[in-house]
Every structure is written in structure tokens, then in C-alpha cells.
């Protein structure tokens, strides 16, 4: 049913339909409305879940880890400093192969304190063993939760997943969202079937220590699961498309790339603005297209290489920076395109909530045409 919903509430409605049995979360801007809405659903008996009130994000994800190990489908949500506080637990969840799904309302990392949007928080967890999916709009944020659970819980995968969507730009924006019915989601997403369950009658330890004789093999197995997740994501995304009419089989999505000479590459809500800017530039005769990265982990290198095969220049819009190097998306794309000779230019943009308008996207393309890149875009040099 089509509803006009705030992004956070669209996500809460999606989570409700996934029937999590345990929710543990700690409120933090701009994630708060999601967990507030879920807490209300539990209090009103609209959602049959245990909602564990915790004193920190570290406890939130720890509670989720334990509940997941006991065989429950679990959910959490956080952002920025909250995600940073979960850092240790994130690696444990992945290492113990628990298919926890967590929403990240993307926000800048302090210091300086900043509650606005960029993608530094989740990008900083890219090596944790969690899958990371980025939503362009509230519809996609809603849909990716059903897909995330189904991919994460697949026995060929068994990895946790972050569904990332931009703080404020999406979390606090009202958009029309087509919400599937509970019956439709029940048919799409059957109950979680755990492999190892904590059970007092059949004692089992998870995440036991591994000496140098075993540790590398466990890391290898996680990497192999990530590889298999590419195929599972494509299958689950295609199945979702057949049922609901919105196809998510691609870990990337091209927009007007077919005859493009310059390709922009981006993740998240900035893709919407970029598409509008591309339409305007196309009217002016510029052959520009967009490659949207939907899955950052696992990173779809082959799909990126294939999608960008025809372009001569690639301009990356990175809402993050790996300080001391470049933006994280640029590094991944450069790796995917290594040996092709395609020029890749990186633009660090929109950090800490700096607004991006269509004219900014056009200005980036102008810079790329001149071969000027690998720099911050939109710096206020007058305050430096």
C-alpha cells in the first residue's frame, strides 16, 4: 500500500514486517525515530518482539549478538558515534557469523561534533565483515531490509548486514513509499533457521579462541561467504523484483550510462540529485551518466568494471574520506578499473551535511572534463 511516510517510519514499518524477535537499540540522532516507532509498536502489541532497553550501543549490539546466537531474528539501528561504540562487537557478530541486520542512519563522525549526514560512519566499518547496502530513497531503504535479512540468513552467507541510508536527508524526509503487506513479506521472508544455536541442553560455545593454527582459516571462510553473498544478493533481489515490481538484482545500477563519456559514481541519496543534474546536462548535449553503488560490501568489482567499460572518465562523489588517502568509493572503483586505462577522479563532497545541489554536480563534471580532481569539492576557502 502506498503511504506518505517519514524515512525512519518507512524503515520501522519494514522492520516490523520482518518480524524480529529481539530488538536492542539506543537512541541517537538521526536514528531515533526508527527505534521510537518500533518501541511504540512493541508497547502497543503491534509487534511481538522483546525490546531490550540498554545503556549504550555497545550493549545494544551485544544483546543482539546473544539473542541471535540463541536463534532469534534480531534488529538494531544506530549511527555515527553509536556505531563507533559498537566497533568491537561488529567484528564479533561477523566472526560468529550471526545474520544481524542493523540500520545505519548515516551521519558524520566527530570531532568536531556534527549530527548531519555523510557516510564516514559506516564506511569506517567496511572491514568488519558486515555486508553494507546503501539506499537512494525511502522506498529503497524500506525494500533493502527485507532483502538484507533474506541474504544474511541464507546458509551460504550467514553474515550480518548494515542497511545504510542518509541521516536527515532520508530519515527525516516524507516520501511516498509502497509498503508490502505482512502476508507478502511472510511469504518472501520465512522464519530464520539458525545453524548453531545456544542451547543449555546441547552446550556450545561460539567464537571460541583460535590459535595461529586456525585463525586464518576462519577469516578465509568469512571472505568466501562474502563472495557467495554476491550471487545470493542477485537471486534474492531478482525474486523481490518479480513479486513486488522493484528489481534489486544488481549490486550496482546504471543511469543513462549506455552512451556516456563521463560517469559519475555515488552511493545513497546523492544519486537522486545526480540523476536530475544528469538529465539537465543531457539536454545541454553532455554525455554524462551515473553508476549507483548499492552494495559496498561485498564490493561488486566485476559489475563496476562492466558498467563503466564504455566511459573515458569516472568522477567519484565520495561522502567520506579515508584520511591520508582518498575517498573509499574511489579506491574501490580504481581497483575495479585497474588496467583499463580509464581516468578516475575523486571528489570529497558533502561532508558533515554540506548541501549538494544540481549545480554542484554540474560543477564536478566541469572539473572532471578539465581533468581536475582528487580534491575536496565545495571548500569554503574564505574560512581556511
Amino acid at each position: 500500500m502506498m503511504e506518505i511516510l517519514e524515512g525512519s517510519h518507512a524503515v520501522a514499518e519494514a522492520v516490523k514486517r520482518c518480524r524480529p524477535q529481539v530488538i536492542a537499540a539506543y537512541p541517537i540522532t538521526p536514528q531515533t525515530h526508527i527505534v521510537e516507532a518500533l518501541a511504540s509498536m512493541v508497547a502497543d502489541c503491534d509487534l511481538d518482539a522483546d525490546y531490550i532497553c540498554v545503556e549504550s550501543e555497545f550493549s545494544a549490539l551485544s544483546a543482539c549478538l546473544g539473542a541471535s546466537a540463541a536463534g532469534s531474528r534480531v534488529y538494531s539501528a544506530t549511527t555515527s558515534q553509536g556505531l563507533a561504540l559498537m566497533f568491537e562487537v561488529c567484528f564479533n557478530v561477523a566472526g560468529m557469523r550471526q545474520p544481524v541486520v542493523m540500520t545505519i542512519a548515516n551521519r558524520a563522525m566527530g570531532a568536531p561534533l556534527n549530527i548531519w549526514n555523510d557516510q564516514q560512519d559506516s564506511i569506517s566499518l567496511r572491514d568488519s565483515g558486515w555486508m553494507q547496502f546503501y539506499a537512494e530513497d525511502n522506498q529503497e531503504a524500506n525494500d533493502l531490509h527485507y532483502i538484507a535479512y533474506k541474504v544474511a540468513e541464507n546458509h551460504d552467507v550467514l553474515l550480518p548486514a548494515m542497511v545504510c541510508f542518509d541521516g536527515f536527508i532520508l530519515t527525516h524526509t516524507y516520501e511516498p513509499v509502497d509498503i508490502p503487506t505482512q502476508e507478502e513479506i511472510d511469504a518472501f521472508l520465512p522464519p530464520y533457521q539458525p545453524v548453531n544455536v545456544l542451547d543449555a541442553k546441547n552446550p556450545m560455545s561460539l567464537g571460541m579462541y583460535a590459535t595461529p593454527d586456525y585463525y586464518m582459516e576462519f577469516r578465509y571462510e568469512i571472505e568466501e561467504a562474502m563472495k557467495r553473498a554476491r550471487k545470493v544478493f542477485a537471486e534474492v533481489g531478482a525474486e523481490f523484483g518479480e513479486i513486488f515490481g522493484r528489481d534489486y538484482s544488481g549490486m550496482v545500477e546504471g543511469y543513462r550510462l549506455e552512451d556516456a563519456d563521463i560517469a559519475l559514481v555515488a552511493m545513497g541519496s546523492i544519486c537522486g540529485t545526480t540523476k536530475d543534474a544528469i538529465d539537465e546536462m543531457r539536454e545541454d548535449g553532455k554525455k554524462v551518466g551515473l553508476l549507483k553503488i548499492r552494495s559496498f560490501r561485498p564490493f561488486p568489482s566485476e559489475e563496476v568494471k562492466a558498467a563503466l567499460a564504455g566511459v573515458s572518465k569516472v568522477a567519484i562523489l565520495d561522502k567520506n574520506i579515508s584520511l591520508g588517502q582518498k575517498g573509499a568509493v574511489a579506491l574501490e572503483v580504481k581497483d575495479a578499473l585497474y588496467g583499463t586505462g580509464t581516468e578516475v577522479l575523486d571528489y570529497i563532497i558533502a561532508l558533515g551535511g554540506r548541501d549538494v545541489r544540481k549545480r554542484d554536480i554540474r560543477a564536478v563534471v566541469d572539473l572532471a572534463e578539465k581533468g581536475i580532481g582528487d580534491q575536496f569539492y565545495g571548500l569554503r576557502t574564505e574560512v581556511l
Binding site: 550467514l158 545453524v195 548453531n196 552446550p203 579462541y209 582459516e217
Partner: protein, 86 residues
């Protein structure tokens, strides 16, 4: 030990980790001056020194990490720490 998803293991499987591989110095029980006092068993922090049927003591080298406490505390200086070649 075959790996299980998430490093899941039933109780007791920590025995599979032969921590003796961490050892640099290996305690050699010489049985030249030994009075069978059993102090080596008492002070062993790993709990891996045990009494043989003949009343003498020896370390389980699968788990002995070579800390040398037994050699240090032995009242008759009958345990020698020898650097191990691997």
C-alpha cells in the same frame, strides 16, 4: 579439527589448541636429584605437570608453555630449561 561456522564448538574443544607450540624453553625433568616432593605440579600455572605411575613428575608438552616456574621453584634444582629447536 574441522572448522564450524562462527567458530562454534562443544565444551572441551579448547584441548584441540596445543598451546605447547608457544614454548621457547622446554623444562627437562632430569630425575637425578628428584625427591618426588610434587612442588612442580603445585606451581604449574597451566596445570599440565602430573605425577607418573612411578611417583616422578613430568610435563604434558602439548600444553606446557615453558614459563619455567617449575624449574625456578624445584628445591633440588632437578629441572633444566632448554631452548627448543623448531
Amino acid at each position: 579439527m574441522a572448522l564450524r561456522v562462527g567458530c562454534a564448538a562443544p565444551p572441551g574443544r579448547a584441548h584441540d589448541n596445543k598451546t605447547g607450540s608457544w614454548r621457547v624453553f622446554k623444562p627437562i625433568f632430569k630425575y637425578e636429584q628428584c625427591v618426588k616432593c610434587g612442588l612442580c605440579e603445585v606451581v604449574c600455572p597451566e596445570g599440565c605437570v602430573y605425577e607418573r605411575e612411578d611417583g616422578y613428575y613430568v610435563a604434558d608438552y602439548d600444553y606446557c608453555k615453558g614459563c619455567g616456574l617449575c624449574a625456578e621453584e624445584c628445591p633440588v634444582d632437578d629441572i633444566e630449561m632448554v631452548q627448543e629447536e623448531k
